[in-house]
């Protein structure tokens, strides 16, 4: 019965699902759908599409459950599958068009400059909403390859180490380091450009 699975650990649910119990896996679906959607949402900003990719990743996870190695947390394995599913789908479509940085409004650039000068966390929360982050990153991220973006998110947003990222994604640590270096360099350059524009707008 589905209700009886709710309090079980991921490991127990995986074991039951491996034995063919789909209801056990559906508990995992409900438990980890947000993680999968968050990962997909890095590449697909439309919420419905991100959920569609997350569902596809969960189907792949269910059908390949026997490949999950002992000791690997289901959540980490799902992150890898969701990342690969997203990257696969991206390959089949054109990337988001890059918008010129000059199209940022003066308010946004001024706020960014303020933040870069070291505004506090509360100030940050008040001054920059998610939509504005989306606005700025929507212009910067298309210049970074999807795989480099993956590393950037995991380093910055999830605060994971290079070793952890390499383990989760199944990439070498050198690969992760190179991608992190490249992505960070691009991000710095692009943000510097945004801030320079903010300065020009004030003059």
């Amino acid at each position: 019965m589905p209700g009886t699975w709710e309090d079980e650990t991921d490991e127990r649910l995986v074991a039951a699902a491996r034995d063919g119990d789909q209801s056990a896996f559906e508990v995992l679906v409900r438990r980890h759908r947000d993680v999968a959607t968050r990962v997909a949402g890095r590449y697909f900003w439309d919420g419905a599409e991100a959920e569609d990719v997350a569902q596809e990743a969960l189907v792949k996870a269910f059908l390949n459950l026997r490949k999950l190695k002992a000791g690997v947390p289901f959540r980490n394995w799902l992150i890898r599958i969701a990342t690969n599913t997203s990257l696969d789908r991206l390959r089949h479509r054109r990337r988001r068009p890059e918008l010129p940085l000059s199209r940022l409004g003066p308010d946004e650039t001024a706020r960014l400059e303020h933040l870069a000068q070291g505004a506090g966390e509360e100030d940050w929360k008040r001054s920059l909403a998610r939509d504005e982050a989306r606005e700025v990153l929507g212009r910067i991220l298309p210049g970074i390859s999807p795989k480099d973006q993956t590393v950037l998110y995991m380093l910055y947003a999830e605060e994971r180490s290079v070793a952890e990222i390499a383990e989760i994604l199944g990439w070498s640590q050198t690969n992760v380091k190179v991608r992190a270096f490249r992505a960070r360099a691009h991000l710095r350059r692009a943000l510097k450009e945004v801030l320079a524009q903010a300065g020009e707008a004030e003059r």
Partner: protein, 130 residues
């Protein structure tokens, strides 16, 4: 004119980190309910299973067709090889088979039944002397 401080790499990293976290932190709009999400999962799972089974059926169908075809081809080849006149075989094959034919011709039927490794050598020498 207002004097500006050029932000250093640390400040830029901090800004980048905050932007990325802000983007991920907030719940996404239009989030489907758990029931709707699971229903979508089930629908995709059914589709994936159907695709898998049609793929297996496709391979199975080809197997049913390919099996008899391969068996017929092998039988035809065997018949052709059996019926082929000796002159049509390659010279290498004939040369390789020649000593064996001579060997068996060199020994009598009774001797052939008792042939062992040592006796084969004897038979060859005997044949050479004949």
């Amino acid at each position: 004119m207002k004097e500006r401080n050029e932000p250093g790499n640390e400040a830029l990293d901090r800004l980048g980190r905050r932007l990325l976290r802000a983007l991920e932190a907030e719940p996404r709009e239009n989030r489907a309910s758990d029931a709707a999400f699971v229903a979508g999962f089930r629908r995709k799972l059914d589709e994936a299973r159907r695709r898998r089974s049609s793929l297996v059926e496709g391979i199975g169908g080809w197997g049913w067709r390919l099996g008899p075809m391969l068996a017929s081809a092998a039988a035809a080849l065997a018949v052709l090889l059996f019926l082929a006149p000796p002159g049509s075989r390659s010279g290498d094959v004939q040369a390789a088979e020649a000593p064996e034919t001579e060997l068996w011709a060199a020994v009598s039927e009774g001797e052939a039944a008792e042939l062992t490794g040592a006796k084969v050598l004897d038979a060859i020498l005997l044949g050479d002397r004949r």
